[in-house]
Amino acid sequence: MEKVYINSIGSISAQKTFDNNDFLEEITTYEDNVIPVIEPNYKDFIPPAAARRMAKGIKMGVVASKIAMEEANLTDIDAIITGTGMGCVRDSEKFVTAILDNNEQFLTPTSFIQSTHNTVAGQIALGIGCKGYNFTYVHSSVSFESALIDALMQLELKEAENILVGGVDESGEHTNAIHKLIQHIKPEKINSNKLLHSKTVGAVFGEGANFFVLSNNKKETSYAQVMGVKTFNTLPKSELESSLEEFLKENNLFVTDIDVLISGNNGDVDYDNYYLDLANGPFKNTQQVVYKHLSGEFNTASAFGFWLGAKILKTQQIPSAVALNTIKPNGLELVLLYNQYRGKNHSFIILRRC
């Protein structure tokens, strides 16, 4: 089987990550319970005529993918695989609101056309003229990982050479209002520096687009090797540790081989205990890294964690803003990512320095 490498990245997040030369040098702190992305100037990437019908999520996805394609020095790609939890939720909200407001009359086409979950992958393909495999996974908080598994299988079996994989989710006003009502979003505004010490329920919601060119051709500029990915729709807390050890064993690794654990803690007092069990248990002597205080929580936030892992391995640096403890590993060779949302849809990913 072929090895799979991350050859390039493109990220739009609540931090200034769209410039690949920077690595969290300047941190933006928020005092809120919903945080937006820091947007690049979209006009630098998308012609105005093409952009005028694009909602924010589409623009974010198209631009993040363009950044990744440019860094990989590619103009076409064998496949485009995206993951999204909510798809183009803003246009969905617009369309449904119009149905209600106009008593099911006078429905206009634009927001309907753009409201489907696979719009981002479709627009990327239209932009670069890619007629290859185009697929979108909508699997809640393992959407990105599902896209990743698909790409890994194709690349490992040499069915493709270069695949664009990404996770994208935009924040929708009405959807957020509902999440506030059911307290999946924290009732209080909170400083992002204090989020992970929060004693209240719910998370700070965010949005973002993180894209990667994965390839079975290693380049000098490659970020990392993707060794393995595994997802679990349900995983009782009592089985977390053994499931993780089994996953590591499948990749011929032990807990002690892992140099950095990147966890998806989001400050929800009801569900961060999954991460704490690992952090205070088998990984208590391991460098621990967190990121959702910087990105916010969204269905494809783990793609931002993937971006972070790739950056850490390439730059061999861990920015102080993401380090949860002061344990210094002997080297930065192996990174393990663990994520779950509200105790469901767990994922493990292993990245290796290359």
Binding site: P48, A49, R52, R53, N102, Q105, F106, L107, T108, P109, T110, I113
Partner: protein, 85 residues
């Protein structure tokens, strides 16, 4: 400029997301499709819905739209003559 023409220009810019175009840049006789403002078939559908919703004009024959949406001047005259609200 008549109020209706001004109103139509504002609506076209807002509803069709023509963010980079100012009202002053649309002349009354500019062609809306093709070489003029560059609108396309999806915009035509948006305009048909707008005529129905805002002015009570139902276009049953899509070919009619081609003539009616020729320019702001033509649209304005048609609406003035046929509007029911």
């Amino acid at each position: 400029m008549s109020d209706l023409k001004q109103e139509l220009k504002e609506k076209i810019i807002t509803q069709l997301n023509l963010e980079d175009i100012a009202i002053e840049e649309i002349a009354d006789n500019d062609s809306l499709f093709g070489d003029g403002l560059g609108l396309d078939s999806i915009d035509a559908l948006e305009l048909i819905v707008m005529l129905d919703k805002d002015y009570g004009i139902k276009l049953t024959d899509p070919k009619e739209g081609k003539k009616i949406f020729e320019s702001i001047e033509v649209m304005s005259n048609y609406i003035t003559e046929h509007r029911t609200k």
